[in-house]
């Protein structure tokens, strides 16, 4: 069944006789070595004075010179500590629990440090709030070693000392006319609130405005109106049986993100049951891609869907004014929600107070156990009205001083131009910033702030869940954190560390130390002194008005734009982080860009195209995007299957120009369209000339036409049918008997005895994998994977050891696909039929599949290496020996999974690749246990050999056996969803053994007979309708 379904990665593959797809299937390395450029030009060739003999002389001479030069080794100096800190042993990693709280990402993390420098972020296993260690958090360690950071305080563009800086600021703050404004990110920090309160008591006339770059204002206000407390409801998706999302990308960054771990728990079929997830959305989001049923609807339709959902569930109505197909979906959804009792939940991402109110009402009516309002989330505090009011006040001159911390409004405000203009006229302007960004450039004072890995802090995740932030390295530069500055200007001498301890004096020394060790603790917020009064209090909202408002047709003119954040870039704070720039988007598989996603139908009507050029790289048309008086020029267009007709999408966080390297100034800034902090806007398009060159990897590494590497089934079939129906092992004919390919008789190879010692296997559950990409960044960070840049990615030369393939399949139902495929006759017919599938695929189903080296026991790469640079280890790892490799690339050609990567260049210490590996600061992030590969060698996933060896060595040294769960790889440790599990299959008690014997288990391209050590668990979809 599974192999009957047609999967495709790009619409290009569905076209009739696509020569590009043909080429890509046949060639691992698409581009030939450009000898023709040189040799083809007869004239210049004959014109050169270098004869063949001269050439040979040069070669001979340089070889001799090189070998002579190698005789004298360099003198290497080694400098030990003068006084070695007690805890630090060179060569042994230390781990510290700390917390990221940059206003967008909040998570408790474990930081791995070597010789006193942080090199990797990991999940904090003891964290009670297991949430949100996503790709950005994993990459945040590199943002600390950013060469563009502000290194010392500055005044009017001149470097000054902190003493001078303090003096100047305190004098000006005391004499300032007008209000003093603190414009900050959400700190969600009790101690920070306390400092700010003291600051306002000290200076008087202080206003504190909290500004979230990507606003959750509607949800916050709706919650405040209902429960009298400004916070966000908390959701525990692990309790859910029916999940309905109306435009909420809750596996992405919706309401602070971090809900994916709980969600994934319900997605693994257990006792024949799994949750059902229905998604109504316009953009194809990560969440929609994981849904059992996805209904593409425009934002205005989403409002109506929510209103009628409310009508069906709470209001008792039996009809709606939705169109037939959508209404049908809503009715069925409502029925399932009602049947689920307290196990159902509705969430919405609509930036609309009415919508958010209805969500709360529906969940209340359902008695949802998933929604938790008693211990709500505190990690978003921004107030859109207050920010709007602030800009108005700045313009009319009533603000005397402004202190901006953790945000970059001159870049991210929709009316940033007005803000920038008003900012210049303010008497005292202070930016607390790590970068000389758009805002810092305009401010008179720039206070250099440390990274979170260099800071102290406390964070209130939820009302009762707290977390501590501690420095893991001495500040790299002459920086001082925001709170420390305020303390100083308050005239206090205590350090912020002492101050936090004082705030939490209720904890006692032991509890404090435990909390610092664990990173998290539970408790209640301490008293924080008189709060700065808020003028904005939400008043209760009438639900019937809300329903009426939502039901009103709000379609408006033009296309409906939904602004979203990418899992890689978020709100754009870490835009100067090359790991994140190069991480492909899970859906579009494009890196180094943002773009307007549009449906095929709308694209046709505007005559917009996407086309693949000869080497498989993608080009797309440009449009000008207009909203009232705002125009975004030259926005590239990406035709996205599954995009709702009449809607378009654009990612925030790109198009930064200040405090960022030139290579990373990519994309367009979508914030000017973020009017009134609403992510849904009406826009109009206009096609302009030119084609944009994307760095899109979706056609890269295709498996030579062997597309059938996904197995999926439905919950019904999974529960009722025999395993041979839905997860059949391929068979071959042996003596006219059909024999499974896994049986030893049909094997061409003598198998080794693998029963002794460790034998590692990795299991990847396609059901639990949401495609978030945290593993990709974790792999980068652990294995020193280089960044190659946009032009190289475009040439299929990305170095990702671990890629997450995204496959589309066309039909809503399996039978539809199968019927169609089986009816096909001949190639020509099938190609035209596939084209039909494409048209039918306005709403494709999506599967994410992480693919790394499969560590085949019968590896095709090993047999073709002429120098035995890739060999097999007894522990199941396929080993790649860089120092032996001569770069023939035969292995890459022979690999059926296309997981080998070739170093076309030296990526370290090379000005051509001016990313982190080209400066001393950035190289501090490199893992000292893993070789930095040089030009001309192959590399690939090692199954984190350095980690497994370390685990074994630790056990040997302690003289103990290894317990199950001790072995892990960077990717399996990074996956908080439990989609990846790593272990020793020779340990009979291990969980991996159960996974290997699981009915859902299969190997990629089993019929090739490679016997991989990486296994996959068949994807099961819950298609049961009400």
């Amino acid at each position: 069944m599974s192999s009957n379904k047609k999967y495709w990665k790009s619409v290009e593959e569905l076209k009739e006789k696509s020569s590009i797809v043909e080429t890509l299937q046949q060639k691992e390395f698409i581009e030939d070595i450009p000898t023709d450029e040189f040799l083809g030009d007869k004239e210049s060739l004959s014109g050169t004075s270098t004869t063949r003999r001269d050439f040979l002389k040069y070669v001979g001479f340089s070889t001799a010179a090189a070998s002579l030069a190698a005789c004298e080794g360099p003198v290497i100096k080694s400098i030990p500590y003068v006084v070695q800190p007690e805890r630090i042993v060179p060569g042994v990693a230390d781990f510290y629990a700390t917390t990221i709280a940059d206003g967008f990402d909040f998570a408790s993390v474990l930081v791995k440090t070597r010789e006193g420098r942080p090199i990797k972020i990991e999940n904090n296993a003891s964290a009670t709030v297991k949430a949100g260690v996503n790709a950005r958090v994993h990459a945040s360690v590199l943002s600390m070693y950013d060469s563009q950071r502000v290194k010392r305080p500055m005044m009017d563009g001149q470097n000054v000392s902190w003493d001078n800086f303090d003096q100047q600021i305190m004098n000006s703050l005391k004499s300032v006319q007008g209000e003093i404004v603190l414009l900050t990110q959400t700190f969600a920090s009790p101690s920070t609130t306390k400092v700010i309160n003291e600051f306002s008591a000290n200076f008087g006339n202080v206003r504190h405005v909290v500004y979230d770059t990507v606003s959750e204002d509607a949800a916050l206000t709706a919650f405040e109106a209902k429960y009298g407390f400004r916070a966000l409801p908390n959701y525990d998706f692990s309790k859910a049986e029916v999940i309905v999302s109306v435009g909420a990308d809750f596996l992405g960054d919706w309401q602070g993100g971090g809900y994916d771990a709980g969600y994934a728990k319900t997605r693994i079929p257990k006792n024949g049951k799994m949750s059902r997830h229905i998604q109504f959305e316009s953009n194809m989001s990560l969440t929609g891609a994981n849904a059992d049923k996805r209904v593409p609807v425009t934002p205005s339709q989403q409002r109506a869907v929510l209103a009628s959902l409310y009508g069906y569930i709470v209001g008792g109505s039996s009809s709606s004014n939705l169109s037939g197909k959508i209404d049908d979906a809503v009715v069925k959804t409502a029925t399932q929600l009602r049947e689920s009792g307290g196990k159902g939940v509705v969430v919405s991402g609509l930036p609309d107070l009415d919508a958010q109110t209805l969500v709360l009402e529906i969940n209340e009516a359902l008695g949802s156990q998933v929604m938790d309002t008693a211990n709500p989330r505190m990690t978003r505090q921004g107030n859109a009205t207050a920010v709007t009011k602030l800009v108005e006040d700045m313009q009319n001159g009533s603000i005397g001083a402004i202190l901006i911390a953790g945000v970059n409004p001159a870049y991210s405000l929709p009316n940033s131009k007005e803000f920038a203009k008003a900012l210049k006229d303010i008497e005292v302007s202070v930016a607390f910033s790590m970068k000389e960004d758009e805002t810092a450039k305009l401010c008179k004072f720039v206070a250099a702030t440390p990274h979170y890995l260099e800071s102290w802090g406390d964070v209130q995740f939820n009302k009762n869940n707290f977390s501590l932030m501690q420095p893991t390295i001495r500040p790299l530069f002459d920086t001082r954190q925001f709170q420390e500055c305020l303390l100083k200007w308050n005239g206090s001498d205590t350090s912020y560390y002492e101050y936090i301890k004082e705030t939490w004096s209720s904890l006692g020394t032991n509890e404090w130390n435990t909390a610092l060790h664990d990173g998290v603790f539970e408790g209640t917020a301490p008293a924080l002194g008189a709060a700065v009064t808020s003028e904005f209090v939400a008043s209760p909202i009438d639900t019937s008005t809300a329903v009426r408002n939502l039901s009103v047709d709000s379609e408006g003119k033009g296309l409906q734009l939904s602004l979203y954040t990418k899992i890689s870039m978020g709100d754009g704070q870490q835009a100067n982080n090359p790991w994140l720039q190069e991480m492909p988007d899970p859906l579009t598989r494009a890196s180094w860009d943002n773009y307007l996603t549009i449906s095929q139908e709308d694209a046709d009507s505007f005559e917009l195209i996407n086309e693949n050029v000869a080497n498989g790289a993608l080009n797309g048309s440009y449009v000008n995007l207009k909203m009232d008086d705002v125009t975004l020029e030259n926005v590239p267009v990406f035709i996205q299957p599954g995009q709702a007709k009449g809607s378009v999408g654009l990612a925030l966080g790109y198009g930064k120009k200040e405090g960022i390297k030139e290579e990373m100034q990519v994309g367009v800034n979508a914030y000017p369209l973020y009017k009134d902090f609403k992510s849904v806007q009406n826009v109009s398009l206009e096609k302009v000339a030119g084609m944009h060159e994307f760095a899109c990897v979706q056609l890269h590494n295709t498996l030579m036409g062997r597309g059938d590497i996904i197995k999926e089934t439905t919950l019904e079939i999974f529960n009722t049918k025999d395993v041979r129906v839905w997860n059949k092992v391929p068979e071959v004919s042996l003596n006219h008997i059909e024999t499974p390919v896994t049986s030893p008789e049909v094997d061409l190879w003598e198998s080794f005895d693998r029963s002794i010692g460790h034998h590692f296997n990795l299991s990847i559950d396609l059901n639990a994998c949401t495609g978030c990409g945290a593993c990709v960044i974790a792999c980068h960070s652990e294995n020193n994977v280089p960044v190659v840049g946009k032009t190289e990615v475009r040439k299929s030369r990305d170095m990702h050891w671990l890629r997450i393939d995204r496959y589309y399949s066309s039909e809503d139902t399996f039978t539809g696909d199968i019927d169609k495929k089986e009816d096909m006759s001949g190639l020509g017919d099938s190609l035209s039929q596939f084209a039909e599938l494409e048209l039918a695929a306005d709403n494709p189903q999506v599967v994410f599949q992480p693919v790394m080296c499969q560590h085949c026991n019968h590896a095709p790469c090993e047999t073709v290496c002429p120098v035995a640079a890739t060999v097999h280890g007894r522990q199941g790892q396929n080993q790649m020996v860089y120092n032996r490799c001569v770069g023939t690339r035969y292995c890459g050609n022979n690999c059926p999974y296309k997981v080998r990567r070739f170093n076309w260049f030296n990526y370290a210490k090379n000005d051509e690749f001016d990313y982190h590996m080209n400066n001393d600061l950035g190289r501090m992030v490199l893992n000292p246990d893993v070789t930095v590969r040089s030009r001309g060698v192959m590399e690939k996933c090692s199954m984190c050999m350095q980690i497994t060896q370390k685990t074994i060595l630790d056990a040997k040294r302690d003289g103990r056996a290894i317990e199950d769960g001790e072995f892990h790889t960077a990717c399996s440790a990074a996956c908080d969803k439990g989609a990846m599990h790593f272990g020793d299959v020779n340990d009979k008690e291990a969980k991996i053994v159960q996974l290997k014997e699981n009915k859902r288990m299969y190997h990629l391209l089993e019929y090739v007979g490679t016997k991989p050590n990486v296994m996959y668990q068949t994807k099961v979809r819950n298609t049961s309708e009400a």
């Binding site: 190698a70 005789c71 003068v82 070695q84 060179p90 002794i756 120092n883 032996r884 060595l953 302690d958």
Partner: protein, 449 residues
């Protein structure tokens, strides 16, 4: 930096010839050194022999070394004051009381006691209540001995040794030069004499014997004999091949690499004479991949009270002053002021020259070998306890590693980790002892990743 010992095979010949020449002078001054040492001994004996009215200085010396030497020196300040002439400053009774219980004396308000306590940074001296009067007398007798004059003969011996070495070095060259010059002159004279004689002969009409007409010259004969040419060229080619191969195979191998370090730290003194365990200082070898160069605070654990070496530590090659100067370098680097016995806070980290360098693509873990396999440090690092200056003893090539992995049995007894695998593997191979190779120690990616 010192010349690498065996680096260039081409230079071996030169080194060998140099050794040949130098060995004579070596012999010469090593004898001198021995004489000096012989002379030094009776001197010391003589100094120790005469008794004193305070007590027996010989017993006093042993008591002093066991009880007092950690903090006191007879003639210079250490943690406590110098003890020579202490009986002039304090009465015998006062000293007895002080040594038996100094803190009680301070508590009782004795002015002298408080003064000395204050002067030495309020570091209380441990009490020695068990010492008898006569034992204290012995110690005092020892410390009150006059400072031994620098043994004249010994001193001159060392000096002679030093200058001898210097002179030896210079004189050898000079002698060689003179010899070469004389040889040249002889040749010249011979030539001139010959020329003159010929002139005379011609002048006096003596018939010089005409050169005999020989057959084909030998080289021509050689060239004409094709067999000989073939054999010779084969031999020459083989020899050339042998040397070229030898040359290339030693590229990048730094066996014998012996750089001069910023501080002359002698493993011979520490690990050899004083028998300090390697891992006492290189403690991270137990737990880490790096053996770690000890940080300077580790040195100061001992050197806070060892400000100078004993006279007998000095060798012919390195004098006591030389070693004391090296300790002074340590103090300078760590920021220790021996005068005030305190840290100044001004540190100058030492830039050691790394001797054992593995390429970046090779992973080596000390703790695996030191803690798990319990291999002696000397197995790879050579007779480190005999090295005055450390050199790289092993070639550190992959072949060398692999060989050891093939030959060495893994220490499995008592290690629970190995229980299961030992049982299975010994069944499989039918042996009781397993080598590292049998456990997978030859796999590429165990060391290369």
């Amino acid at each position: 930096m010192k010349k690498v010992k065996f680096r260039h095979s081409t230079t071996r010949l030169l080194i060998l010839s140099a050794i040949f020449l130098f060995s004579f002078s070596d012999l010469a001054f090593s004898q001198e050194g021995d004489v000096a040492a012989d002379q030094a001994e009776p001197q010391e004996e003589a100094a120790a022999a005469p008794g004193s009215d305070l007590g027996d200085p010989v017993n006093g010396k042993s008591l002093f070394n066991s009880l007092c030497a950690a903090c006191h020196k007879p003639f210079s300040k250490a943690i406590g004051p110098a003890l020579h002439k202490v009986t002039d400053k304090y009465s015998r009774d006062w000293l007895n009381t002080w040594i038996r219980n100094s803190s009680a004396m301070i508590a009782s308000g004795d002015a002298q006691a408080i003064a000395i306590y204050e002067e030495y940074n309020k570091v209380a001296m441990p009490a020695f209540p068990a010492l008898t009067d006569s034992e204290i007398g012995d110690i005092l007798a020892y410390v009150e001995q006059p400072k031994p004059e620098p043994p004249v003969a010994a001193g001159s011996g060392v000096a002679a040794g030093e200058t001898g070495a210097g002179v030896g070095g210079v004189s050898n060259n000079v002698i060689l030069a003179i010899l070469a010059f004389i040889l040249l002159m002889l040749l010249l004279i011979l030539f001139l004499v010959n020329k003159t004689l010929r002139k005379f002969a011609v002048a006096s009409g003596v018939e010089l014997p005409a050169k005999k007409e020989r057959g084909t010259p030998i080289w021509k004969a050689f060239v004409q004999n094709q067999f000989l040419v073939l054999v010779t060229s084969v031999i020459v080619l083989l020899a050339a091949g042998y040397f070229v191969y030898g040359f290339f195979m030693q590229v990048g191998i730094d066996q014998g690499y012996q750089p001069i370090q910023p501080i002359h730290y002698s493993h011979r003194i520490h690990a050899g004479e004083n028998q300090i365990e390697c891992k006492f200082c290189h403690s991270s070898a137990r737990v880490s991949k790096h053996s770690g160069i000890p940080s300077l605070n580790v040195c100061m654990n001992c050197h806070v009270s060892i400000g100078e070496v004993a006279a007998e530590t000095a060798t012919e090659e390195y004098s006591k002053e030389f070693y004391d100067n090296e300790i002074a370098k340590l103090y300078d680097a760590v920021g220790w002021d021996p005068e005030s016995q305190s840290y100044t806070g001004e540190t100058k980290p030492v830039k050691w020259v790394r001797i054992h360098n593995l390429p970046d693509f090779a992973y080596f873990n000390h703790s695996q070998h030191v803690s798990v396999a319990q291999i002696e440090c000397q197995t790879c690092h050579g007779p480190i306890e005999e090295m005055e200056i450390v050199y790289q003893d092993a070639p550190l090539t992959m072949g060398w590693c692999i060989n050891c992995h093939r030959e060495t049995n893994v220490k499995m007894e008592g290690n629970e980790y190995y229980e299961k695998i030992h049982e299975e593997l010994s069944n499989k191979y039918g042996v009781e002892e397993l080598t590292a190779a049998q456990l997978g120690g030859l796999e590429c990616a165990k060391c290369h990743y």
